[in-house]
């Protein structure tokens, strides 16, 4: 069996930072050394050496929030192309959102997604289950059956669960199953036809507004339901300052809540829509500079546990439409690390925590992803150069779609190698399959 050696880098994980050359064999880390001999002894015919000079080696990243579009919308993305984008972004595991057609509300769909992901072999794809059948918000999905099959995160993402009684029942039912319900917080009656953040820009542009209160009301409701039921809730893509404050208080109260934020919610404001470019339409919408500051503070103080991309591919013909007709969503997998390094004033350790072991724990993947770099651990690793500057070029992205809002933007930090299950799936920034 081929052995892989990652040589010349600095290991960074939850135990700290140190010089380390890492040897991988059979999908497992078999050696972590200060520095292997420069050449010779270990380098046989069946040894692949990956240079990591100037790079950081971390546990593989885990994205809690990815739309892979397959099954149902394969013109936008497939499990294979999305997995490739993930691997290039340094992710060794991604949680696939269930808003496919059909939705992830049956074992058959969940198994299909896993099978396609195995076929692609670029990263682990953990399908999130639906909370309600077809995400319609009326009847519970088979939470127990899917939990038995290993599904750990459940959400109707794209829709919030509107019915408070149903959400309460779902939490009560979920609690003994050891699963986590993840909420897309949006009170639908407050966002009818909404296109962008409700504020001065939408007022000027004449577009229907998506008020911050529509998110905050549901964050607040679900925090109180967590207090009532004791079942954990994960808050998807927080976008407003008040939401962050509500979660901060809930955590201070000791409630089992976690939260994520997407890179676009700490890098872009609603002013980006002043030119009516639908690439900047996303749900929840881009908000204000004050909200960005609050999201950054929430990430820095740990109120927000994870950076999750909400990678949402759409083909050009769907986005080349009027703002109110264009679907919401933007690409994220291949730019997340760089945006975090470039835009967040956080130590690299904390950025990696928010990209790796913290989301791994929320996703229920902590037994194989986001683990400390040590002998005997599964070899899911990301090697990146934190200082390399590069410019985002949509046509060079691996995603089938091109809807990145960062076209032309120069950012810092690039993934060099990604090792998934012991296999170097990305080498020198190039996907190997």
């Amino acid at each position: 069996m081929t052995r892989t050696i990652i040589r010349g880098g600095t290991a960074l994980d939850q135990t700290g930072r140190r010089r380390a050359d890492i040897t991988i064999d059979g999908g497992v880390i078999v050696g972590v050394a200060d520095a292997l001999e420069a050449s010779g002894a270990d380098d046989g015919d069946d040894v692949v050496v990956l240079d990591a000079t100037g790079c950081v080696i971390t546990p593989g990243f885990v994205d809690l929030h990815v739309h892979l579009r397959e099954p149902g919308r394969e013109e936008a993305e497939t499990i294979e192309t999305g997995s490739r984008a993930a691997a290039l972004g340094g992710f060794t595991a991604i949680v696939a959102m269930p808003n496919t057609e059909p939705a992830h509300d049956s074992l058959a769909t969940v198994e299909f997604v896993r099978a396609q992901a195995r076929r692609a072999g670029l990263c682990e794809v953990a399908p999130a289950g639906c909370i309600t059948m077809a995400r319609a918000g009326s009847a519970l999905a088979p939470l127990g059956e899917l939990a038995d099959a290993g599904v750990r995160l459940f959400t109707d993402d794209g829709n919030g669960v509107q019915d408070a009684a149903l959400m309460r029942r779902a939490l009560e039912y979920a609690k003994p199953l050891g699963i986590t319900l993840a909420q897309h917080c949006e009170v639908a009656s407050l966002t009818k036809g909404a296109v962008m953040h409700e504020g001065s820009c939408c007022s000027h542009l004449g577009l229907p507004g998506w008020p911050a209160i529509a998110e905050e009301l549901m964050v607040h409701r679900d925090i109180e339901l967590v207090r009532l039921t004791g079942a954990p809730v994960h808050f998807l893509h927080l976008s407003t300052a008040r939401s962050v404050e509500l979660v901060r208080q809930a955590k201070a109260d000791g409630l089992p809540v976690t939260a994520e934020a997407a890179p676009h919610h700490f890098t872009l404001t609603d002013e980006m829509l002043m030119g009516y470019d639908s690439v900047f339409k996303v749900n929840p919408p881009l908000r204000t500079a004050a909200d960005i500051a609050a999201i950054k503070r929430g990430l820095a103080d740990g109120t927000i546990d994870a950076i999750a991309t909400d990678h949402a591919p759409h083909p050009p013909e769907a986005k080349e439409a009027p703002l109110d007709e264009a679907p919401p969503g933007m690409l994220g997998l291949e730019t997340a690390l760089a945006l975090a390094i470039t835009e967040l004033e956080m130590p690299l350790e904390e950025i990696v925590a928010a990209l790796s072991w913290k989301p791994a724990a929320i996703a229920g993947l902590g037994d194989r992803h986001g683990r400390a770099i040590a002998v005997g651990e599964p070899a899911n690793l990301t090697v990146f150069d934190p200082d390399l500057a590069w410019t985002v070029v949509p046509s060079k992205l691996a995603s089938l779609s091109r809807n990145t809002p960062y076209a032309g933007r120069t950012v810092r930090g690039k993934v060099r190698h990604t090792i998934y299950s012991g296999v170097a799936v990305v080498v020198d920034g190039v996907a190997q399959r």
Binding site: G199, S200, L205, L207, G209, E320, A321, P322, E325
Partner: protein, 319 residues
């Protein structure tokens, strides 16, 4: 000027220039044969994704009086539902050879998006809740003419009454009127005001009775019935009681005050008097001026200095 998308980007000088050009067009329209060869050989496409017979007819008339060739396209409102993107639609029609698109769309921003996909000029004929720049120009021209304000609107007080939030006319008029120096007061219940309205350059009132006797222009907006189902106002009756131009309010108008409306009027709702009995009503003048203003805009976008003084004689006729 390549496009006319948003009245807010025009300067005072731009507005005065277009109104001076409109004066010429009014003169053309008063001739026995109201037609000039200014845009002969130019093709103007009226591309209406949302039905609007009056605006389309006004643009159509304007283009023909300037001797442009006119194509009319009525496109079903959602291009996505047809499986053709907005871009495809524009590129297809552009390929036929077009000098200007006159675009009406139910979605805010569509005319601006269209400029990316064609080399032709684009005139916004109303987009969603966003802008209706030729309406603002014709409203300015009407006020300028009827209140004899050729030098600007300094000192004028204009009240715009009604559903500001959903109104492209209000957004455009506020920008044009204030650019020309007027003081604008929006009169509406809070539910019909746009978000962050405090950042608009206007005063706000929730009581028409407080200012009906002191304004120089009372601009009434159309009150749409679907606003009731969205619980923005309880009933049309209540709306009329608080915000409609009723006979008692009409009697309190200053003698010189103008009453304006972009049409179509809801008689008995916002216009609860017979406008023909209102001495200050200039509603039909607005419509007349609409043709001249649109001629001025098309000429400014497409004209090449052709002599506006020359009458377009029918072929073979030589006088």
């Amino acid at each position: 000027m390549k496009h006319l998308l948003d009245i807010g980007v025009l300067s005072v000088e731009d507005l005065h220039h277009l109104m001076a050009l409109t004066d010429h067009m009014v003169e053309v329209n008063q001739r026995p044969i109201p037609k000039v060869p200014a845009l002969r050989g130019k093709t103007v496409v009226n591309l209406f994704f949302e039905d609007s017979t009056r605006t389309r007819t006004s643009f159509d008339t304007a283009a023909r009086r300037l001797s442009a060739d006119v194509m009319n396209f009525a496109v079903s409102s959602s291009s996505v539902n047809k499986g053709e993107s907005l871009r495809d639609t524009i590129e297809t029609i552009s390929a036929m050879g077009v000098d200007a698109f006159v675009v009406r769309h139910r979605s805010s921003g569509a005319p601006q998006q269209i400029t990316q996909w064609t080399n032709a000029s684009v005139v916004n004929a109303g987009d969603g809740w966003h802008q209706h720049p030729t309406q603002a120009l014709l409203d300015c021209f009407t006020i300028r003419t009827h209140l004899n304000r050729r030098d600007g609107f300094d000192g004028l007080h204009i009240a715009i009454v009604g559903d500001i939030k959903h109104s492209r006319v209000a957004r455009s008029d506020v920008q044009a009127f204030t650019t020309l120096g007027a003081r604008v007061t929006l009169v509406a219940p809070p539910t019909l005001l746009p978000p962050a309205v405090e950042q608009w350059p206007v005063d706000i009132s929730h009581r028409l009775d407080e200012l009906v006797g002191e304004v120089d222009v009372l601009y009434l907006l159309r009150m749409q019935r679907e606003r009731m189902t969205d619980a923005l106002v309880p009933s049309l009756r209540e709306y009329t009681a608080h915000y409609g131009l009723t006979p008692p309010r009409a009697r309190r108008l200053q003698p010189h005050a103008l009453v304006m409306h972009p049409g179509p009027m809801n008689r008995g709702v916002e216009m609860a008097v017979d406008p023909s009995e209102l001495p200050g009503s200039v509603v039909l003048h607005q419509v007349t001026n609409g043709v001249a203003v649109r001629m001025a805009v098309l000429f400014d976008l497409l004209g090449s200095g052709a002599d506006l003084g020359k009458t377009d004689h029918p072929r073979g006729e030589d006088r």
